[in-house]
């Protein structure tokens, strides 16, 4: 695929990065910032970490929408993912979790998300739920029952401190200057996510299941007459999206090391950003991961700015991703939304 075409396909993601870089450059020049105090290795590491939960969620949501189902319930799934991971970690370890428990907790949380995802998929596909309302409902349910789980376990919506994931240091490689610490002495979850993104991309474009998912979203009837069960394909995709969002939540928890269920909960809108991310990436898993990195980077950037004493009204700066989305959608026009999204499909008979 020529770069031109690639660029065309992922204009949103690229545009996003362009906007970011340009903005940063202008800012840097405008008020000669201590550039290297802002862009530190730690900053890059934290950006990558901040990006992982968003990227995972985005990749899942992307699959669902590609298959023709708009799953805007991912925020809810993330909350459940985080809450179950926390409670599971506590229960498995009997109150004193260690590294192994973190992994077990993530696993357990994924399994629980799987159950929820199946139920949700049945409502969306079998019972043709209104996807927008059902998704919003799932968000509310998450905001309610997520913290409630914590209440049941700790009589408080906030968990005590649990275990957070340790960095994985790859011997030798980790000693490479700059790149070493960033890529080979960091949370294994970052690496896992990177691998997942590439795998998801390959799967979508080069396997028959990938073809089916795309067809299910663009022209389900065509897939049906080709003898493939559209419903099954969509079930798979929606369930996958739920699981990925759950995983995203679990990963977020594994990084934070404790659950907070007050306010908007510790997830605090990352699910929504996830949706935005795959739109930016224009339905390309890698693009979505990159977009997630852009948002994670933005968030960490405004933190860096605060740290070096550049006073930004953070309530406003935090809005940048949202404004950015609107800007890019406006300048680069519509995303290539699959044409059958939101339409339940009933095959004849």
């Amino acid at each position: 695929m020529s770069f031109a075409e690639y660029a065309k396909r992922n204009s949103l993601g690229i545009a996003g990065i362009a906007v970011l870089v340009a903005g940063a450059a202008i800012a840097a020049v405008a008020m000669d910032l201590p550039f290297w105090e802002i862009v530190t290795i730690g900053f890059v590491e934290r950006s990558l970490q901040a990006a992982t939960p968003i990227a995972l969620t985005a990749i899942g949501g992307l699959y669902a929408e590609k298959s023709g189902v708009f799953n805007i319930g991912v925020e809810g799934f993330m909350i459940f993912g985080a809450a179950t991971a926390a409670t599971m970690m506590w229960i498995i370890s009997g109150g004193s979790p260690g590294q192994s428990d973190v992994w077990l907790a993530i696993l357990a949380s994924v399994l629980v998300s799987l159950v929820f995802a199946v139920l949700f998929a049945v409502l969306l596909i079998r019972y043709e739920a209104d996807q927008i309302v059902a998704g919003l409902a799932l968000w509310f349910i998450g905001l309610g029952f997520g913290p409630f789980m914590a209440v049941l376990v700790w009589e408080s919506r906030n968990s005590p401190s649990l275990e957070s994931i340790n960095d994985l240091t790859v011997p030798v490689l980790a000693d490479i200057p700059v790149l070493g610490p960033i890529f080979f002495d960091t949370s294994p979850l970052v690496m896992v996510t990177a691998v997942l993104a590439v795998a998801a991309w390959k799967f979508l474009n080069d396997t028959k299941y990938g073809y089916w998912i795309q067809a299910a979203g663009e022209n389900p009837e065509a897939l049906d007459t080709a003898g493939i069960d559209v419903t099954r394909v969509r079930y798979a995709a929606v369930i996958f999206s739920g699981v990925m969002a759950g995983l995203g939540g679990a990963v977020l928890l594994a990084q934070a090391g404790s659950f907070t269920g007050t306010g908007e909960t510790m997830v605090g809108g990352r699910g929504w950003i996830g949706i935005v991310a795959y739109l930016f990436g224009n339905y390309n898993p890698i693009g979505a991961a990159v977009a997630a990195l852009v948002f994670g980077g933005l968030d960490m950037l405004q933190i860096q700015l605060q740290t070096v004493g550049i006073n930004v009204p953070n309530r406003l700066v935090n809005l940048f991703p949202y404004a950015g989305v609107i800007l890019v959608l406006t300048v680069w026009g519509s995303t290539q939304t699959p044409s059958a999204v939101g339409e339940p499909y009933e095959s004849e008979e």
């Binding site: 105090e37 530190t40 730690g42 900053f43 934290r46 970490q49 901040a50 408080s156 919506r157 906030n158 005590p160 401190s161 957070s164 977020l252 990084q255 934070a256 090391g257 404790s258 907070t260 269920g261 007050t262 306010g263 908007e264 909960t265 510790m266 605090g268 968030d299 960490m300 933190i303 860096q304 605060q306 740290t307 070096v308 004493g309 009204p313 953070n314 309530r315 935090n318």
Partner: protein, 333 residues
């Protein structure tokens, strides 16, 4: 004097309702402390507590009046200044109802307004940070870097209330060491632990070795980050080296305010049928021993003497008025 309310429960029982701040209970901060105090009072008197969690400010008006209307309660405790607007109306509307408002005051005879001098305790936190950043200290693998005077602050929402914590903390640090650097960062809410951790990490990276937080529940992230970076932190509101003992290895101290004692005082007064004694605006600062700075339980005795020395001097200065602490108990305007 709350007499009218007595009819809920038997004569002797004192019924108290407490309405949360938007942050809700379980904030490891003033909501929980306020309840704490009531529970302490419970040990002494026959008190029934009804915890009402309301996180939408737009509902305070009706929640308050519903509680007052029922006239079941001898005292209604309202946590945080978010209740002020609503109470301004209800206090007048229900003149026979006893109210306690935390962190603000409404000028009515039936209101006991309690404010704690956040600025004073934060000033002391600043003194602690400003002193220790240039001292040798290492504890269970955590250590700070005496070579540079550099500390940090992580706030919840960037608004007048938390600004008071920030400015006074900075002032305190500068009082000790005029050329100290203080990194400041705000989360944007009180629940995003992960972002809190990122901010702290960013500050530790930047050279800070002690970070003070005023971010309620999200503050845990700061301690997580301290452990990760083998640095230190300062807790807030309660002695967090006790309430979150899993972090006692990094919490060198906490700026504490005895909200619990405030609510206990009022609860007891009501139980005694002597609410008048507590009505009006009560600002509890160092003088009233309403706020203080305590050393983390793992660090008692490990601190160089200069610490306790400086803190004592600062306290004297503040009470005597020689030290001018910026902002006020209710915030920074």
């Amino acid at each position: 004097l709350g007499g009218d309310g007595g009819d809920g429960g038997s004569e002797s029982t004192t019924n108290i309702a407490i309405v949360s701040s938007p942050a809700g209970f379980d904030d490891n901060a003033f909501n929980d402390l306020a309840v704490d105090g009531l529970e302490t009072a419970q040990e002494e008197y026959d008190i029934e507590i009804n915890q009402v969690e309301e996180t939408e400010q737009s509902n305070y008006q009706s929640t308050q009046s519903t509680l007052a209307e029922s006239s079941d309660y001898d005292l209604i405790v309202l946590v945080s200044y978010n209740h002020t607007e609503a109470l301004t109306q209800n206090a007048a509307e229900y003149p026979d109802q006893n109210w306690m408002l935390i962190n603000a005051h409404v000028d009515e005879p039936n209101v006991a307004g309690y404010t704690w001098a956040n600025h004073e305790m934060s000033y002391l936190a600043g003194v602690l940070g400003g002193t220790m950043t240039t001292e040798e200290l290492s504890h269970e693998g955590n250590s700070n870097d005496p070579s540079n005077a550099h500390i940090g602050f992580v706030g919840g929402v960037d608004g007048s209330l938390i600004n008071a914590f920030e400015r006074s903390y900075v002032a305190g640090a500068e009082w000790v060491n005029s050329d100290v650097t203080v990194d400041v960062g705000y989360i944007g809410d009180y629940s995003d632990t992960d972002t809190a951790a990122s901010i702290a990490s960013s500050q530790y990276d930047n050279g800070a070795d002690i970070v003070y937080h005023a971010a309620a529940a999200a503050g845990q992230g700061v301690f997580e980050s301290a452990q990760e970076n083998d640095r230190f932190a300062i807790g807030v509101d309660a002695d967090q080296s006790v309430t979150l003992e899993e972090f006692q290895d990094v919490i060198i101290g906490s700026a504490v305010k005895y909200i619990n004692e405030g609510t206990q005082e009022v609860a007891s007064a009501v139980a005694e049928g002597d609410f008048e004694s507590v009505t009006g605006a009560n600002t509890l600062g160092l003088d009233e021993e309403g706020v203080d700075l305590v050393i983390g339980q793992a660090f008692e005795g490990e601190m160089p003497d200069v610490v306790s020395q400086n803190i004592q001097d600062a306290k004297d200065g503040i009470t005597s008025g020689d030290i001018e602490v910026p902002c006020s108990a209710s915030g920074c305007n």
